[in-house]
Structures are given as structure tokens and as C-alpha cells.
Amino acid sequence: MERGKKIVDGFRFLPPGLRAWVNTFIPGEDFKGYIPWTPMTKPLSQTTIALVTSAGISLKADPPFDMEREKREAIWGDRSYRAIPRGTTEKDIQVNHLHINTTCINQDINVILPLARMAEFEQEKIIGHLAPTSYSFYGFQWKNTDFLKEAIGPISERMKLEEVEAVLLTPA
């Protein structure tokens, strides 16, 4: 089901070769299988929200995502995750991602992990709370779902401890 007036072209920014190639992985028809669903139980203004991005953001104090192995093994992607506390700014992070230009994230973390904007929304009571912790993993996982067990599983456990109710995910 698709809503809204504008129809977004998700391939607009891809060069023609990549556009054609990526399209070979995407079916022409809508998804017909089972989709998990947890309904919102409260208005946004009472909901605790955490952020998750696949941009490969780590605190400078933590080990960076492993780009060196990926440079040697083209279809391998780092399966770990990093916790990013609220209040973190671009000054506190490094960004490692071989599939995008990371310059903008290094200049303003909010372009993909909008911690400052969400803190404003909490102050303005647009959302209930921004969780104490948000997260990054590394989005390049080529035909491999091990990152679900190694990164997203532990992230979901930590979210439960912090009473998170909803998650905004921002792919790189």
C-alpha cells in the first residue's frame, strides 16, 4: 500500500548502471508475504523512541567498524553494532562506510542520526522521550543475515531495558 501525493523515485540519485543492477534485485510486484507488526499503543507525544542507523557511526572512544577486511573481501560487511548515547554530536564520532560519502555525516550527525532534533521534539512534547541510547550498525550485509543475531538482537535487548517503544531507522 502506498500513500501520499508524490511518488518517490528511490533510484533518482543512482547512476544508470547501478540503477539497472539494483533493479534486478527488486521484484516488480508488491510484497505478498508475512510482515511483522507491533501497533503503536500510545500517541507519539507519550512514546519513547530510539534511533538506529546503518551508517557505520561509532564513538571516537570505541573501535571503528572494520573497513579493512571489506576492502580485502568485497562481499563481507562488519556485523557488529555501536551504542550512541543521546547528546552525541558530530565532534564525538567517526563514520566508516565504503558505499556512501561520509563527509556530510561528519559535518552534521543529524543528517542521518537526528539526536539533536529528537531532543528538541522531546522538549517540545512532540514525542514522549528520546531513549538514552541510540545505535548504529553497518548497512552493507551482502546476502547475509548474521547481523540480525549479532547486532540487531542485542540492540533490541538493550532497547527493552531502556523501555523503548518505537524505533526510527535511517538507512545510509
Binding site: 500500500m1 510484497f31 510482515i35 507488526w37 543529524n110 540492540i155 527493552k160 524505533v167 531507522l169
Partner: protein, 114 residues
């Protein structure tokens, strides 16, 4: 990212993916998506554009409340102010994956044009 959203949803969390490539929903089955036509790496908006980032987030977060059934994709109306070639979103070096599949990528383009 769609698989991560599915996992979190199974774990009892309501999720929203703010995605530059909503078409992946057709492959994966993403619980809730807000589609945005912004360059990769900047789904919330441009560097330093606090007001623009707020507008995108307000619209995106509203989808958490508006979406009533699994698999809904809400298309956000925002337009990126630059032509795609000027957005400079690609990495400074060709990624290892693209190098690895370069011939296949060239062939896909030829097939598309044929």
C-alpha cells in the same frame, strides 16, 4: 534495514524506516516506511538545515501514528534542491562490491537499454 525493522517489530517495537529507496519494501516486506527522495547518507536533510530536518522528521514520525496495517509506504513530498549529479553522495573510491561486480553492472545497463 528492512530486515532490522522486521526483527525489531517481532521483538515488540513499533518501527519506521525513513528510506531513500522504498522499492526495497517489495523485496523484504517492511512494516512501516516513509519514502524520501533525498540522496543517500542524508535522509533527514542537509548539513546544518535544522528547520528542514525538523520538517522531514515531523512528517516521518507522523507515519508511526498514521500507518494502520503492515507494509504501508507513505511518500513524503519533500524535494531535494540539487540535481542528482551535484549531490556528491557517492564514496570517494569505488566500493569493493562495485569493483567486484563491475562487469555485471555494465551488463545490467546494456540489458536495460536493449
Amino acid at each position: 534495514m528492512g530486515l532490522a525493522a522486521r526483527f525489531l517489530e517481532e521483538a515488540g517495537l513499533s518501527t519506521l524506516v525513513l528510506t531513500p529507496t522504498h522499492e526495497f519494501h517489495r523485496a523484504v516486506g517492511i512494516p512501516r516506511s516513509a519514502a524520501i527522495e533525498y540522496p543517500y547518507g542524508r535522509p533527514v536533510g542537509n548539513v546544518g538545515d535544522q528547520e528542514g530536518q525538523r520538517k522531514v522528521l515531523m512528517e516521518a514520525l507522523s507515519v508511526l501514528e498514521k500507518a494502520k496495517r503492515p507494509g504501508e509506504v507513505w511518500h513524503l513530498s519533500f524535494t531535494w534542491p540539487e540535481e542528482p549529479k551535484k549531490t556528491d553522495w557517492q564514496p570517494p573510491e569505488m566500493s569493493p562490491l562495485i569493483k567486484f561486480y563491475l562487469e555485471e553492472i555494465k551488463q545490467a545497463r546494456k540489458n536495460r537499454n536493449a
